[in-house]
Amino acid sequence: MALPMLAGSADCGPLNPLQGLSKELDRDRGLQQDQFRAPRAGSSKQAFRSQYAAAPDHDAARFFAPGPAAGPSSLGAAPYDLSALHTALPPLAAQSPAQSPPASAAAPWAADFMQLQPPPAQILHSHGFRADAEPQATQSRPPAPLDAGVLNSPLQAQQWERAFQVHEEQPAAAVQEQRPAARGDDPDDLARAAASLIDAVRHEQNPKFQNSAFLGLMKQLRDREVVIEGNQVVPTEGTIPVASSWAADFQADVKGKGRAVELPAPPPLSVDHHHPGGTPEQQIGDAPAMHAAEEIDEYLRQENDAYINYWHTAAPPQSTEAAHGTESWDRLQRDWDRFEATATGIRPMAHYQFQANNPYLLGETSRHHMMHAPERNTMYDSVLEMEAAAQRSPTDAHAWFQLGVKQQENEREGKAVQALRRALELEPAHLPSWLALAISHTNEGNRQGACEAIREWVGHNARYGAAVGAHRAQHPERGDMGQADRFNDTIACLIAMARSDASGAIDADIQIALAVLMNTNEEYEKAKDCFTTALAVRPEDWQLYNRVGATLANSGRPGEALDYYYRALELNPAYIRARFNLGISCINLRRYEEASQHILDALSLQESDRVGDAGAGEGGDDRRGITSSALWDSLKTCCLHLGRLDLATLCDRRDLDAFRLNFHLR
């Protein structure tokens, strides 16, 4: 970033504003800043308010008096004893060539205000102010009338303070802005300077630099899109104010800067009235010749700092932009995950959302063939295993059916319905799926859905084709049948089917279908009879035990239901639905302690279906999909009945681990 070199050897050429710029930048204020840091950290702000800015004035005056004698003389007039501060000044400070130029006499003010490099314009403005305050401290300027009111009013001090704070907020940006702003008033000059600068750095390939606001401003200046008016960067008339967010950021900063500068008493433009020709030549003239040797070094250092600072401020918008990009890609990916590519094209996978990272998907399955075994015992398989099976062979209706039934058992009705619908999509004549779907709809309170599912089951049941045909002949199906009519017709048809079997054997499926319909119609007594009839044929079917129990419980006989639930759980201890139903019955019997234990067990079982590490990313959502909210709500009701408000709030947060921990604490 060798700007001075790039800017050309302007020392002997005509007036080069950029050269002046470098001169401004190269003044070493490191020492001043060091000196002023300590007092500021302590009580300088206090002094501001309590002493009406008088003390800092002396401070600065004494500090910048060219000779050691000047300090005491100015101090003598002051009613404040500043000797302590005086001794704190290193002798070198006054002799430093960097500090002696009178043009920078007021710099400590700015330094005091800004830990960072003080912007030149700020110095100049405050210089005018300072000149008014301390005539004897200003060597090269005619004394201006003292504006005591402005100086000494506490209000003024506060304004300074405010100005200071504004500066602190955007010091780095201010540094950038200030440079162009400090330059001459001639817009042509400015444009020329900007153009030459851009020209000089056009080989710089660093994209950060290429996109930097500084370069942007320079380009704007060159193209006359903006002009400097006073201390403001103002877009010229008829131009689009900002081309990019960079420029917008920049403008905002400029505004902040302008506000900060306006607060001090002297208006920005007055600077040049105070010292006409206070442009580069003067600066060059004031600077001692020995200065020149260090010039480039210092300039480089300062320029580096400025750019580092600048990039610190510039980096965040860039990185958030990048983050935004990644986010939208992630979103796209997520959306895409909801679709599946099939032979027929892409279609939404709204019906069933698998758990991520299913360990059963890894490696080959050795049990694939078992999926097609008709009497497969599903008790020992986990949901994950079944999901894996369905994922491996997404066109296997039987796998989907198994998964659906398992999800029913695990008290996840929504997922069960999705899986069963998928099974039926693949194989519309799969009878057990229709029956299972009817049960799910009954549980959801979807009477019509349940009835339609049973009708489908009847329609697809080839075994009773003759009986159904006979029934249809007697009771032709009409399009205008109401819901109740269809319902009654289906029941009649089922009864006809049951009667048609001359062998006298009981078809449990017909009984179940009947019972489901009775249940939806709240004819619990009949429903219970049907289920128990089916149970006589399938004495080991835990689902039937649970169904009898549920029917009893829903008809207001929770006490009798308990035995059926217990039996179901004996047959299949991992039967979450029966466990939950047991809990509900206990609530209805006002045995809340027992109920909460059962529901907690059910929740724990549900939780165990979760993929171990799935919780890392979208933990909350994942878990909520796995444990069902109905269980949590029931558990919460229990807790409220038990007077355990602490546990109830844990239920709201779905925090099973915490709940388990706190459950047995009293």
Binding site: T551, G556, K636, L640, A648
Partner: protein
């Protein structure tokens, strides 16, 4: 337990349970329940000793159950015996049946009274098949 439950009224336990359920509702659930029912039931329950207790189920404004007469005009006042109320709450007896057999009498909007059973049932989790 709570001020809703009163000694000598079996069915008051069910009402207390109902109040608990309302308490556990969040705003949305409560709003849904109110929207579904939109009315106030005043229950005048007579127990075996012939004493009368009054409870109010407000599903019009607040979604609460409280002991005592309705603060605003109820949509319906239901006169019922403690036993019958108990059976209704347990779902062993359905409201229409009770009305037909004279176990349940109403003052005010009789049709609205039929919603009581639905309210009692909605707050109870259904066992799943």
């Amino acid at each position: 337990m709570s001020d809703i439950q009163v000694e000598g009224f079996k069915s008051s336990a069910a009402l207390a349970a109902l109040a608990k359920v309302f308490d556990s509702y969040n705003e949305q659930e409560k709003k849904n329940q109110i929207k579904k029912t939109n009315g106030i039931f005043e229950l005048r329950i007579k127990n075996a000793e012939g004493k009368e207790g009054i409870w109010t189920i407000d599903l019009k404004n607040t979604g609460t159950v409280y002991k005592g007469e309705s603060k605003t005009k109820p949509n319906v006042t239901i006169l019922v015996s403690d036993d019958t109320m108990q059976q209704l709450a347990d779902g062993k007896l359905d409201g229409q049946n009770a009305y037909m057999t004279g176990k349940l009498k109403t003052k005010g909007n009789m049709m609205f009274a039929t919603k009581l059973v639905a309210v009692l049932k909605a707050t109870k989790t259904q066992a799943k098949l």
